[in-house]
Every structure is written in structure tokens, then in C-alpha cells.
Symmetry: C2
């Protein structure tokens, strides 16, 4: 995934081929293609989560699970990281090279729900060189041409990277019988702005001076109900006569035919009444609540990569048309605020968020960072570890339990903590 994003951004800033329409935005003095002598950009691209569906059958090394190279795990370390009973929290070694910006990272394997840790993470600084030839000089008049900002080009490059990645997985499935799919959460830093792209149920938040700024939203059958219903309404063949695109507050029984029932369709956010007809007795496209919400009684996440071959349970209906590979991209302008060393961007997979609220994360940020000197570069790793430990809990009473005795997460958990005003440099 990182390769795709890197390639898309590199392609963007060094774009060759026919001259693109020249952006006419006045706020483009920093467009990289106009700055061959500019400091190198640093897209950084943390984690992708795998595991929304069945574990992949790996027929090629590239499709196999592995721990991030920056963990520098020895064979013995790898075995400990894979131990579902011990669930040791893993972080990059203190002695090695730090991640860019002194970014903190920690992860832990699941409690046994799957053999491998299906969370995958990476973090890199990449250099791309701008080419003057493309848009250094205007080639054509900008009249009658829509404004295209530099920011919207980066967003488009990231969106396309997700799409190309999805198509690549479709090709690899056909060629090598690789199955499965994953969610993805990607952060790119470029020219003063942080781009957070999310497709799935991972989450990113900024904690700034104690305030929580959501940088992503989850894509679930509930949050995406109207998109899914619209698709089912416009393409009823995707429902195969087995499902109805309407939502009802509960399953309708055949004896209720002709009676009135509350419903919502693709256009509605509220509920209204309708008379129950025969096709309302079909199973609803979207049903269930919270963690139990499902599309076609099968999947609980509505965006992600892969899963091209996934079928509705006990049916031949394909799920993929309802699964979108497109991320929502949110942009955060680092230059609009004077950040302090305690301001961080926290990325976590669903293992973290299943048992931890945004507020609890913010409280942990405050508690852990205040225990370290502001210039101690190890504080962000300590914070990532604290977040993972807080979500995993400790083994007690035949389970992993939190201090309040509730169950901790039995899922894989991965956390990045990126300092926004820390000891690192952004350029």
C-alpha cells in the first residue's frame, strides 16, 4: 500500500506526459513541481489493517503476513511476538534508529482469533524530485478552467492509490488464488500538511492541547446505510431477489403483510410508515446495530481493499459491489497552529478503538507524556505502548481484562503516535 501511495505522490510531483492544466490557485507557491531545489518531501505512511475477512491463503511471499522491519525482530523475538498466550507488546528497539519525527509505535498479537497478527504497518520517508518541465511555466491560459489546488491533487493521488491497490489485488487474486481483504489507514505528510486517508474501521485522532480532533470516520453498515441502499435501489440485481434495500426497525413476519411499519430508504435520515408488501419480507440489505451491524448479513465494514471474491453467506451473491475501496481523506494544516511536544496524531487499528474511547486516549496522552521530559524522544513509544497495553489488559479470570474488569481487546492491536510539535523536523 505504501508503495502505491508513494508512487502516486511521486507521480504527481514529477508528473510527465502531456502538460496538465495549470492550476490557477494563488496559494500554490510551494507546488513541488515548481521547486526543484525545495527540501525533499516526506510522505509518511503508517499502518494498514488486515483481517476484515477470512485469513489470506498465501501462495506468494508478498501476500504473507510479517512484522514491520523497523521492529528489528530476531528469530526469537519473532516467536515471542507471535505468542498468543503471552501477547508481549512490541516496539522498535531503543538502541536502533528511531522512526521519523521520533514517531512512537507499539503492537500486540491477538488472543488466538487468528494464527497471525494480521495488522500490517510501515513507516517511511521517501524523496521525490520535482521536475520543472511540467508546470513551471504556464502553457495555456487559465480562463474557463476550474481551480485545482495543490492539496486537491495530493488528495486525488491518494484516492487513486487506493483504487490502483484494489485493482492490483484483483489481478493477484486471479493470477495466484490469493484471497481476503483489508482495511487501510494511511498518513502522508507533504509540504506542511498532513493527509489522513481511511478506508475501514481503523481510526486517527489528533490530541492537541487536550482537545480531540477526529481525523477519520469509521465506515460501517450503519454509517454508510444510505450509500448502500442507493446502490441496491439503483442496481436491484445486486440484491438477487434475496434482500430488500429498505431498512426496518426489526424483522417483519409474514403474518404482518398489509400492516403498517416504520422504514427508511436511501433518501431518508428519519423513519416513516409504509404498508408492508411482499418484498418487504426479504432480508434487509443493512441490519443490526453497533458491532453487530452487517451488510447482507455478511460483513461489518463497508470500505477496504481486496475481498473481490467474497460472497454473501450461503449464497452466490457477491459482496464486493457494496464494498468501496475509496478512502475519505482529511487534511490537517500543520502551519495553522503552533504545536507543542504534547500534541500528537494517534493512529490505531480497531483492536484499540473497540475498547478505548477518544477521551480515554486523550487522557493517556496527557498522563504518559507528562511523565517524560518534552525532549525525551522515547516518550512517544512509551505512549504507544501504554495505549496498546491499556486496550489489551492483563490475563485474569480466563481472559484478558482491563482494570475495570471488563474484557480487553482480543484482536490484533497496532498504534502509531506521531508528534506534531516534537523533537523531529517536518521538512
Amino acid at each position: 500500500m505504501l508503495n502505491r501511495v508513494r508512487s502516486a505522490v511521486a507521480h504527481l510531483v514529477s508528473s510527465g506526459g502531456a502538460p496538465p492544466p495549470r492550476p490557477k490557485s494563488p496559494d500554490l507557491p510551494n507546488a513541488p513541481s515548481a521547486q526543484t531545489a525545495a527540501p525533499p518531501e516526506a510522505p509518511r505512511s503508517p499502518p494498514a489493517r488486515a483481517g476484515s475477512s477470512a485469513p489470506a491463503k498465501t501462495v506468494e511471499a508478498r501476500a504473507s503476513f510479517s512484522r514491520p522491519t523497523f521492529l528489528q525482530l530476531s528469530p526469537g523475538g519473532l516467536r515471542r511476538a507471535d505468542d498468543h498466550a503471552g501477547r508481549a507488546v512490541q516496539s522498535p528497539p531503543d538502541t536502533g534508529r528511531r522512526l521519523p519525527w521520533s514517531t512512537g509505535y507499539a503492537e500486540v498479537i491477538n488472543a488466538g482469533k487468528s494464527r497471525h497478527n494480521e495488522d500490517q504497518a510501515c513507516c517511511e520517508v521517501v524523496y521525490v524530485e520535482g521536475r520543472k518541465s511540467v508546470s513551471g511555466v504556464p502553457r495555456e491560459p487559465s480562463q474557463g478552467q476550474k481551480e485545482v489546488t495543490h492539496e486537491s491533487l495530493v488528495v486525488g493521488a491518494i484516492e487513486n492509490a487506493f483504487q490502483f491497490m484494489d485493482e492490483q489485488m484483483a489481478r493477484e487474486r486471479r493470477g495466484h488464488q490469493v484471497e481476503g481483504g483489508c482495511c487501510a489507514l494511511v498518513v502522508v505528510y507533504l509540504l506542511g500538511k498532513v493527509y489522513v486517508a481511511n478506508a475501514g474501521d481503523s481510526r486517527a485522532i489528533i490530541v492537541r492541547n487536550g482537545e480531540i480532533i477526529p481525523m477519520s470516520r469509521e465506515f460501517t453498515p450503519e454509517t454508510e446505510r444510505q450509500r448502500l441502499q442507493l446502490l441496491g435501489f439503483l442496481k436491484p440485481e445486486l440484491l438477487g431477489g434475496e434482500f430488500t434495500h429498505l431498512e426496518f426497525p426489526r424483522r417483519i413476519q409474514p403474518k404482518e403483510l398489509g400492516q403498517r411499519m416504520l422504514y427508511r430508504d436511501q433518501n431518508m435520515t428519519g423513519w416513516a410508515y409504509k404498508k408492508i408488501e411482499l418484498e418487504d419480507l426479504r432480508f434487509p440489505l443493512v441490519c443490526g446495530e453497533g458491532k453487530k451491524a452487517r451488510v447482507m448479513a455478511t460483513i461489518g465494514v463497508t470500505r477496504g481493499l481486496g475481498d473481490h471474491n467474497l460472497k454473501v453467506c450461503s449464497s452466490t451473491l457477491p459482496i464486493k459491489p457494496f464494498l468501496s475501496c475509496f478512502p475519505e481523506v482529511r487534511v490537517y494544516d500543520l502551519t495553522q497552529y503552533e504545536h507543542c511536544p504534547d500534541d500528537v496524531l494517534v493512529l490505531g487499528t480497531d483492536g484499540l478503538w473497540d475498547v478505548t474511547s477518544d477521551c480515554e486516549v486523550a487522557a493517556t496522552v496527557d498522563r504518559v507524556l507528562s511523565a517524560y521530559e518534552p525532549n525525551d524522544a522515547s516518550r512517544y513509544t512509551a505512549l504507544a505502548q501504554a495505549l496498546v497495553l491499556g486496550a489489551r489488559g492483563i490475563p485474569r479470570d480466563r481472559g484478558w481484562r482491563l482494570p475495570n474488569n471488563k474484557l480487553g481487546s482480543g484482536d490484533d492491536i497496532s498504534v502509531f503516535v506521531i508528534p506534531l510539535g516534537g523533537p523531529g523536523s517536518y521538512s
Copy 2:
């Protein structure tokens, strides 16, 4: 339209027929159907705007244009209100009965772009009686049933009212050759909450202690690009081989075939590059910017009622599939804030907003209301008049001009000012 909304809300609170699923929300003690002795509810429903398309051919009195009855216009007054040269601002007379809550209202006819003032407004208190029989006693267990709040039932009733109104206009068109369509902005007050439903290019804002709270958003080819593109993508027959669902920053010339060009599709918020293919030379489904943005080179507003027969310019392609009749409904809970007499909800048709920003409206609210005693019920009418006058301007240099010498609005202009903490009572 008001009749439809009133009927939908009345239907909701006095709902007969089969027992609906009982909402299990704990915050429903005020559900009106459970309170036959409750004070009467007061849905109030200000204005609907007409005129996004050609003037209606009126073959029935019900489809003709008329000024609001609360203006109490004499035949002479009606002639003055219709005078495109004088453009006298109209308000309810000081001597008559005030609108509910001492709501202020003012309107002015256009500068000659159409014969009639096509803005239509009404404002009413209606009483609906709850029936104990429906949901006073739970009829079935609430297990496995989705939570349905009272608020979501009101929202659904309003959404359905818009849909039913649109269907009614389709029937009247067939029966009586009535053509045309309109945007609609509706406000309903019920049980402590204000519901603002908008389909089109009118706008509602709350000005509270000087702060601006948007209560609607405009629906234009630009704000609805992705919805329109998705429909064109999933139903290409609606584009008739004449349009492409892709957006480009400018028109592509045939000689550019095979070159690279920026584009956006229904999934993208950013721009990316593609190689120009033959079908990219078609006219874009969405094109133009700002007030000049159009769907299929024809309409500039993407939500509204009616227009069932509207065709693409110089074509037989229907526009209606892209025009949605569904409003966005925003809810404002009046009980969550202690409102003062200077806090108001301002509703305006596009004639106001074309030349007036939210901030300018907020400044006028402050300026006018501070010149009146807080308990002077005429202050809200004075404010509505000031807003209409400020958007109309005065005749000078062969046009209607604002103090800064820019052109005022030549459109019909209608404004409601609803006090949120004024001398009226909400119950």
C-alpha cells in the same frame, strides 16, 4: 407544501392503523401520542420558494401565484406589491394580528425577470391531537428492535411530506398540464425542537449571541457533484450518450485525445490524471463554477419539487432523475440554550443570499435589534425589512444598487425572522 408537512406531522402524532413498533428510546416521555393532555403542538412552516425553472402555466387557481394572506393586501396594495419599477417592500401590517412568536417577515418582487413574485410564503400554527391508542401501551417486546427516537419520526414525516408533495405535483402535471417546479425551505417547531428542512438554494441560519449557526446547506451541481456523478455512472442511459459523468477542469478538445488530463469521478474529492478517451469528449454532466454551475448544461439547483417534465436544453433527455425532492433536515434543540430576545432564526430565499453573506446578515441583526427595545414586538419585522432592503438596494445608475455601488439582487426576495427567545411563547 405547508399542508403536506402539517398532514405528515399530524399523521405522525395521531397515527392510526396497525400498531407501529414501539420506540424503545428512554428519552421519549414527551412523545405527543402519549400525551393527550399535552399543550397543543405548534408546527410553524415558513416559506417555500418557487421559480427555479420556467414560470408555471397556471390552469388552476391552486397553481397560481399569490401573496401571503398574512400581508392582508388590498387590491391597491397588491398592485403596488407587483410593481417591478417601485419594488416596494411588503410586510404584515402593524395594525393586524402578529405572526406567531412575533415572527418578522418582509418580501419584495423581482426587478422584471418574471411577471410574478414567484416566492411563496406561509406561516401557521396548527393543532394536532395525540391519540392514546397508538403507543400509549407497548404492544410487543422491544427486544431485537432498532431504536427509533421521536426526533427521527418527525424528520421522517417531513422527508415524506416533501416526497408526497413532489408526487402530487407529478399527478397535477398529468391532469392539468401544470408545469414548473420550485425549491422549498420549511421550518417546523414541535416539542422544544426546531426542524429546518431545505431542498434547493434558500438558506436558514441562526444568529445566536452574534454567532452564526448554519441550519441548511445549498444544493447545487457543485455541492452535489458526487451524488449526480454516481447516478450517471450507475445509470449511464440517463446520460444518453451525450454526457460524461466525469468532471474535468475545462472542456477537452478533440485534438487532445490520448493526452493526460485531470479528472474527478463519483468517488473522488481530489483530482487525478487520466488518459483522454473518446467518451471524455462528451459534455460533462456537471460543469461550471459558482452561480454558473449546471447539471447537463441546464439547471443550477439540484433539489426541489416538481419539474417532472423538464428536459435538457435542445434534447429529449429528462432532468428530473438528477433532481432530488428530498430535503436535508437539521434539528436545533431550543431547550439546550438560554436564548435572549436578540437570538433569531433567519430564513431567506436566494434573492437574499445572492448578495448577502451570513456575516452581513449577522451584522444587520445586531444593528437593527439593538435599535429597538427587547420587548418591542415590531423589531423582527423591522429586521426582515432591513434585510430585504439591504439585498434589493436602491435604484441608481440604471439598476438596483447597494451602498457599495455593486448591483443589488434583481430576484424576488423573501425573509422570515423567527425570534428564539423573544416575546412569543413556544408552547
